[in-house]
C-alpha cells in the first residue's frame, strides 16, 4: 500500500493582521499517485491550502501557521524554495502571470535553470515536458501568442519540468474556454494515469472531476465539510448545495428521478433510467429545485419544454426584428496590428432579450460587443443603437443607452467607497442627483451591499466586486447591458447571484442583456438566445436547445455542451438543457406523476 506523500494534521492558518482563520483544523492525507480534488466556494481557503503544501505559506505570505505539515517527508515551512519547488509544483488559474520566457521552450526551462542544472539536463527535461504536455511544434512560439489552453499547458509544463512528485493545480481552468478546459483536464488525467504524479486539483468544474479524482474534499470557511471518494461526496446532494458547490448534472438528474442508485456518468444514468422503466418504479422528483413553475402534468411538461424552446426562438427573432435595440450591419473590423477580428457580422438584438454570445477565445465576441457602445468603431459596415447609426456618435452619448461591464471587476472600480462607485457613472452623464441617490439606495439593496456602502471596493470579495461592477453600470440606467464573462473566477452560488440579478433586470425592468460566456451551464439556465461566433463571424444563432443540437456547430466553435444535453440525446435523441427538464421528460411517460421543466 502506498504511503502518504502529503500529510496535514489539524492545520490552522491566519493571515497577518487578520483574525479570521483561513485554514481551520485541516487534516488531509494523500497517497503517492493519487488525484485529490478540492472543491468549495471562493474564500473557502483552497488557495491557502495549496500554498501550505508547497511552503509559500508561511515563507512568502506572512501569518501564523499551526499544526503538522509533512510533504514528501519534509516540513515545507522549514526547507528552502528549491527543495520544495522540485517536489511540489504549483500552477495558478491565470496563465499570464506565470509565464516568464520569451518562448515556450525558454519558459519551460525557467524552473530547471533556477535549480542550476547543467544545459544538457535542462534541455532533456524541457524536451520531455514539451512532448508530454502536447506542446511539440510550439517550442519557439511566444507564450503570449498561444491560446488560453496552450498557455496553461505551458505553465503546467514549466512546473512539470522540475520533476515534482506532486502537482497542485489551483483552478487551472477558471479562465479558459471549453476547448482549453478539455485540454487541461486531459493533461491532469495523463499526469495521474501515465506519469504517476500525485495531483491536488482545486476546481469548480464538478462535472469533469468525477472520473479524475480518487478523493474529493469540500471546503467551506477554512474547514473540510465533506470528504470521501467521489461517489460518496457527490451522492450527498443536499450537503453539496449547503456548501455552495454545484451538484453534477447527472447526479442531480438521478436524484430528481429518484434513482435507487445515484448515477455518476451518462452510462450509469442510461442504465438507471432503463432499470426504473423495467421496474416501473415511481420517481420522486424534487420540484423545489426547478427554476420554473411546475406544470399540471408531466405530459404537459414535456410538451411545454419542447414548445417553449421553439417559441423562444420565434419570439427572439420577432423581438429582434420588431424592436432591435442594437444592430450590427455588415460589420468588419481590423485591429491596427493588421489582425482581422470581425468579418462581416450581421446581428440584431431585440429589447428585453437575454442573449449569450459564445465561441472560442479570439472568435471576436468582445470585439463585436465593444462596437455597441463605441469603444471600437467598425472598419466598414454600421452599428445601430436604438435605430440610429452610431457613426459619429460619441462614446459618452452611447454609454447612456449601452452599458458595458468588463470581465475583470478590478478594471472598472475606481472610487474609494461602494456608494461613490455607484454614483460615478450617473454623475458623469449628468443624471439628476436626487434620482441618483434614490437609485443608488435601491441598487445597494438589490445587490446586497447596503452594509458595505462606505467600504473601499478592494476590500470586498471577488463575487461582491463583480456584483458592484455590474451595478455601477446599471446605475446609469442603460437600455442594453453587455456583460463580458460575468462568472469568471466566481463559484456557483456567486455565478447564480449575478445571473439572477441580470434576469431580474430583464424581466422586471425590460433591460436587454447580452452576456459573453464560456459557461454552458449558465447558457442552459438563463439564455433565451445563443449567438455562436467563430473566426470573426456569426456561425450560429438560435435557442440553447437548437445550438446544443448541432454537433458540427459545437465542434466548429470549440464548445462543449453540458452533460445533461449528452444524456438526453442518448436517451431520447433530443437535447434538453437542465436535469429538471430531463427528469420531466422521463416522468412524462408516467401520466400520474408530476414533473418539472424550465425552457
Amino acid at each position: 500500500m502506498a504511503s502518504d506523500i502529503i500529510s496535514l494534521k489539524d492545520v490552522t492558518f491566519n493571515y497577518k493582521g487578520s483574525n479570521r482563520r483561513a485554514l481551520d483544523g485541516i487534516s488531509l492525507n494523500v497517497k503517492q499517485g493519487e488525484c485529490v480534488a478540492i472543491l468549495g466556494p471562493t474564500g473557502a481557503g483552497k488557495s491557502t491550502l495549496a500554498c501550505v503544501i508547497n511552503g509559500t505559506v508561511p515563507r512568502f505570505m506572512d501569518g501564523n501557521l499551526a499544526g503538522e505539515v509533512t510533504v514528501d517527508g519534509l516540513v515545507p515551512a522549514k526547507v528552502g524554495t528549491a527543495q520544495m519547488a522540485s517536489r511540489v509544483g504549483l500552477v495558478f488559474g491565470d496563465p499570464d502571470t506565470q509565464l516568464f520566457g520569451m518562448t515556450v521552450e525558454e519558459d519551460v526551462a525557467f524552473g530547471p535553470a533556477n535549480l542550476g542544472l547543467d544545459y544538457e539536463s535542462i534541455m532533456e527535461r524541457v524536451d520531455k515536458s514539451i512532448a508530454d504536455m502536447r506542446l511539440a511544434g510550439l517550442e519557439r512560439r511566444a507564450p503570449h501568442r498561444l491560446s488560453g489552453g496552450q498557455k496553461q499547458a505551458t505553465a503546467i509544463a514549466g512546473v512539470y519540468a522540475m520533476l515534482p512528485k506532486i502537482m497542485v493545480l489551483d483552478e487551472p481552468t477558471s479562465m479558459l474556454d471549453p476547448e482549453g478546459k478539455a485540454r487541461v483536464f486531459g493533461i491532469v488525467r495523463m499526469l495521474k494515469e501515465q506519469l504517476g504524479v500525485t495531483v491536488v486539483l482545486i476546481e469548480q468544474e464538478v462535472d469533469d472531476i468525477f472520473g479524475l479524482a480518487d478523493q474529493v474534499f469540500v471546503m467551506r470557511s477554512g474547514k473540510f465539510v465533506l470528504h470521501g471518494v467521489p461517489r460518496e461526496v457527490f451522492g450527498r446532494v443536499e450537503e453539496l448545495r449547503q456548501a455552495g458547490v454545484r451538484v453534477p448534472q447527472i447526479v442531480e438528474f438521478g436524484t430528481l428521478i429518484g434513482a435507487a442508485e445515484t448515477p455518476f456518468s451518462i452510462e450509469e444514468a442510461v442504465s438507471a433510467v432503463g432499470r426504473a422503466r423495467d421496474a416501473g418504479l415511481g420517481p420522486s422528483p424534487s420540484p423545489a429545485s426547478a427554476p420554473t413553475p411546475t406544470p399540471t402534468s408531466t405530459n404537459e411538461a414535456a410538451a411545454q419544454t419542447a414548445a417553449r424552446a421553439t417559441a423562444c426562438l420565434r419570439e427572439a427573432c420577432k423581438i429582434a426584428q420588431a424592436d432591435p435595440v442594437v444592430e450590427a450591419v455588415d460589420v468588419e473590423f481590423t485591429y491596427p496590428s493588421g489582425a482581422r477580428a470581425l468579418d462581416g457580422v450581421n446581428l440584431a438584438i431585440g429589447r428585453g432579450d437575454l442573449v449569450a454570445i459564445v465561441g472560442q477565445n479570439g472568435a471576436g465576441k468582445t470585439t463585436l460587443t465593444r462596437h455597441f457602445n463605441g469603444l471600437l468603431r467598425p472598419s466598414s459596415g454600421d452599428i445601430r443603437v436604438l435605430g440610429r447609426s452610431a457613426q459619429g456618435v460619441h462614446t459618452i452619448e452611447l454609454c447612456r443607452h449601452v452599458g458595458y461591464v468588463f470581465q475583470n471587476p478590478d478594471e472598472q472600480l475606481f472610487c474609494t467607497s461602494v456608494q461613490e462607485e455607484l454614483r460615478f457613472g450617473p454623475t458623469n452623464i449628468g443624471a439628476d442627483p436626487g434620482a441618483t441617490s434614490q437609485r443608488v439606495e435601491e441598487i445597494l439593496a438589490d445587490i446586497g451591499l447596503t452594509k458595505y456602502r462606505e467600504v473601499w471596493p478592494k476590500y470586498l470579495t471577488k463575487g461582491e466586486r463583480q456584483r458592484l461592477a455590474l451595478a455601477s453600470v446599471v446605475a446609469m440606467d442603460p437600455d442594453v447591458l453587455i456583460v463580458d464573462e460575468p462568472t469568471t473566477g466566481l463559484d456557483w452560488v456567486e455565478s447564480l447571484q449575478i445571473l439572477d440579478y441580470l434576469e431580474r433586470l430583464r424581466s422586471e425592468h425590460r433591460k436587454t442583456i447580452v452576456i459573453i460566456t464560456h459557461d454552458m451551464n449558465i447558457v442552459s439556465l438563463y439564455a433565451r438566445r445563443v449567438v455562436v461566433m467563430a473566426g470573426g463571424r456569426v456561425v450560429g444563432d438560435g435557442t440553447p436547445r437548437e445550438i446544443f443540437s448541432q454537433p458540427d456547430l459545437m465542434e466548429l466553435a470549440c464548445l462543449r455542451r453540458p452533460p445533461i444535453a449528452d444524456l438526453s440525446q442518448a436517451l431520447w435523441g433530443e437535447v434538453l438543457l437542465t436535469p429538471a427538464d430531463a427528469a420531466a421528460k422521463l416522468l412524462a411517460s408516467r401520466p400520474t406523476n408530476s414533473g418539472v421543466c424550465s425552457k
Partner: protein, 277 residues
Amino acid sequence: MIVEYESKSSAVHRLDPRVKFAWMLAAIVISVMWTHPVYLILLGLTVVGFGLLAGFPWSKIRGVLSFMVIVTAIITLVQGATYVPKTVTLDEPARVLFHMIPGWIPGVGPACSIKVGGFLYGIGMALKVVTVLVVVAIFGYTTSPSEIVQIIARVPFIPYQVGFVMSTAWKFVPVVQMQMRTLMDAHRSKGVDFEQGTFAEKIKKTSGIVLPLFANSLSMADTMALAMESRAFGSSRKFTFIRPYQMDRFDWVVLIGSLGSMVACIALLAVFKLGAL
C-alpha cells in the same frame, strides 16, 4: 519601450546579444562624440542599413519620428539663434544664415538672426537624438529581454536575478499599458470624456486611473512573484542559460567592425578633429 521585441530570424536577430550590445554602444558613443552633421548623417545611414537588415518596422516609429522632427526643428532654431560654437571647419561660424523675422516686415525685421555655426550645431544635436533613439529601438526590436538578462548576468559581480528582474519589469510594461487602455475604456463606458475640459480637469480625470492601475499592477506583481518563487527563482546562485551563445564569423565581423569603428572614430577625432564641426 519604443518598439517591442519580435522573434524573427533576420541576420541581426541571430547575432549574439553581446555583439548587438557592442554595436549599440559603439553607435551611441560615436553619435555623442561627433558634432558635424555630415558625419552624423553618414552614421545615421549605417544605422538605417542595420535596421533594414533586421527588417525593422519603420512605420512603428513614424509617430515618434514625427514628434522628433518638431523637437529637432526647435533645437536647431534655438541653437542657431542663441549659440555660436568654436568650430574647426567653419571660417565664420557667426555669419548670419537668415533671419527668422525677415527684413521686409516693417518695424521689427530683420531680427532673430540664425547663425551658421549654431544652426549646424543644432542640426548635429538633433541628428544625435534621432540616431540614439533609432539605435535603441533596433536593439530592443532584435534583442529579447531574456538575452538582455544574459548580457547583464555576464557582467562580473551582478547576480543574474538583477538582470532577470529588470527584464521582467521590461516585459511588464506592455501589460501595464494594456491595463491602462482597459481602465480608460472602462472610464469612457461610465461617461468620462478625456478629451473635454480644461487642462486641470483633464489631469483630474486621468488621475482617476492611477489608483486602480497601481493597485492592479501590485496585485499582478504579487501573483507573478509567487509563481516565480514556486519555480525556485533565486534559490541557487547559479542560473543556467538555455542558449549558450557561440560567436560565428558574422558575429566577429560585426563585433570587430563596431568596436574598431568606435576606437578609430575616437582616435581620428582626437588627432585630426575628424567628425568635429
